[in-house]
């Protein structure tokens, strides 16, 4: 019996040993407009200066595309199998593959009346985050692309945690958030090598590794207003494409999308880290003929490409969404469509469901 079958027959959730609950996020790629507001929200909050200039704990990349850091999907890391006994060797990307922490002539233009165009100073950039924005693939009239927002997946089997010889990275007991203990970290960067998503970054100024913290002070209500907030990337998102909550909250939309309808899928499941960030795959119109007619049955975004990103289960997920769309068109009820259309905002961020534990 394949793992897929097991999951469809048994909704038992695979939560890491020793973790009480598991934070999770679902991002609906059909809603992402590539505005980078999430990127800016995250950067403003966590990674401005101090050796973090080049870091984007949250980034949005165009797919198909080389991503950030460039070609991260081919940089190794993760596990060799779902037994999680042998890790896959990985590499530390060169700085040029991240790119982007350039100095701009903002003040000259804004305050000194310079007529120069706004551009990076004293460098001739060849790559940076979002460098291949909107390039995509395919030929007119059937070219295609979509946006892929990425944060740390706070994996159930995090290979970054396993890679650290000092146990400086750990999975937080209360909610499974993966953190780098800055006291323990000695900047060896085995975590950077070990993460197949390249979501752990080396801070050369501090000589320590750093990463997305799932905005834990916000979800703990430790901010100035003492209120619980979802992650900044989620709350600031103009089209509100993210759901934030716990995977094991069986009354929440995340559980339903991931475990019941199985339309929210992890990115690159073959890395075997079992991510806790899930994606509703992009649902594109069919291809067009030269004279603009729809070619029914031929997807604009090739299924092979989506399978590359989300595994074979993407077919079943897209079929399920198709079925429920049809159902809604016929005027029937669909809980799935209601969740995806965000008809109940109270369900979007369910972060206090386990507070009484």
């Amino acid at each position: 019996m394949s793992t897929d079958d097991a999951q469809s027959e048994d909704t038992h959730i695979d939560i890491a040993d020793g973790v009480d609950h598991q934070v999770a996020m679902v991002m609906d790629l059909n809603k992402c407009i590539g505005c980078q507001t999430c990127t800016v929200a995250c950067k403003t909050l966590w990674t401005e200066g101090g050796g973090r200039d080049y870091m984007y704990w949250n980034n949005v990349e165009t797919k198909p595309g080389d991503g950030y850091p460039k070609d991260w999907e081919d940089s190794g890391g993760g596990w060799q199998s779902d037994e999680h006994s042998e890790r896959e060797p990985g590499e530390i990307p060169a700085k040029e593959r991240y790119g982007g922490d350039w100095e701009f002539n903002h003040s000259e233009i804004m305050y000194d009346g310079s007529d120069e165009p706004l551009r990076p100073q004293n460098v001739d950039p060849e790559w940076g985050p979002n460098w291949d924005e909107d390039e995509g693939a395919g030929e007119y009239p059937n070219s295609y692309y979509f946006y892929l927002p990425r944060i740390c997946n706070h994996c159930t089997h995090p290979s970054c945690v396993e890679a650290c010889p000092r146990q400086a990275l750990y999975k937080r007991e209360e909610d499974g958030i993966v953190l780098v203990d800055q006291e323990r970290c000695r900047g060896y960067r085995y975590c950077v090598e070990g993460c197949p998503y390249k979501k752990v970054y080396y801070n050369a100024a501090k000589k320590k590794s750093e990463k997305c913290i799932f905005c834990y002070p916000r979800i703990e209500g430790e901010g100035p207003d003492d209120e619980v907030h979802a992650t900044a990337c989620a709350e600031e998102c103009p089209p509100q494409l993210r759901l934030v909550g716990y995977l094991d909250d069986e009354d929440g939309p995340i559980y339903k999308l991931v475990e019941e309808y199985e339309v929210a899928l992890p990115l690159h499941p073959e890395f075997e880290t079992v991510p806790n960030v899930y994606y509703i795959p992009p649902y594109a119109p069919p291809q067009h003929s030269e004279d603009g007619e729809s070619i029914q049955g031929v997807d604009r975004i090739p299924r092979e490409y989506l399978e590359e990103l989300f595994g074979d289960r993407v077919n079943q997920a897209l079929d399920t969404i198709e079925r429920h769309r049809d159902r809604t068109r016929r005027g029937e009820d669909s809980e799935l469509m209601e969740i995806l259309q965000d008809k109940n905002p109270a369900q979007q961020y369910r972060l206090e469901v386990f507070d009484d534990d």
Binding site: R87, K95, P165, R186, Y188, V192, A204, A205, K207
Partner: protein
Amino acid sequence: MTEGCERTAPDRSWVGVAALVVLAVVGAAVLPTLSSARPANEVPVGDVGANATDPTAESWTAVPSVELALASAPSGLPEASNVSVREAQVRTATNGSHVFVRVSWPDATADRNASGLREFADAVAVQLPENESARPPIAMGGTSNRVNVWYWSGTGTTEELLAGGAGTTTSFERSAVDAQAVHEDGEWHVAFTREAEMAGNRTDLSGEQDVDVAVAVWNGSYDERAGRKSVSEWKYLAMGPGPQGPPYETILWTVAGLAILFATVVTIEGVRRTRGEAA
């Protein structure tokens, strides 16, 4: 002629005996050092009158050097067995109040930076048992048998660490160890300095007894860091007054030499008398 011969013969034999005695005494003093009677795992501790904090100080030339074979440390890290440094020279000295350990090893590039994402600095560490009387596990000690580690990195930092097993190194809040380094002619020379007498979690090096020692070396440009390193086996700093101390050794060698000489002379004289030559 005959008379003369009879007169000179005893003289010659006494000169011969005297020469043998002198030879034996000189031999007793010189032979042990020539034949290097030093046990294989010993790192002798030289005496430097002044300060030896500078690895290029003239005083180091008088301190005996020991070559340590290095091999990759056992570790589950990727490429752990792929290390580049095969040997290191260690010199240890004291001036009474301080102990100096100088480690030299070949490395063509001086990697002093870790400011690039893929950059690692060269480094060296000297490992000593927290408790001088018990030998800890070589790989960073054990939970009940910890080690002191003196760590110098090419970035210019010197740290004093305490460890009780791989991955447990913890910095002392204030390091009692200083280090100075030079890189010349394709070789690093790093001299560590620490006060000899210390208590608490720090190895006492006041000369009460021999103390175990091991070294580790990292080549930064070869991506070596953490458990990916070249390490020695346990050796020991010959600090204690032990029975193999030089004065005791000299007396033994002298007594043994004289005894052999005495036996030889008595035997020769006995043979001569038996043949009736002396009559």
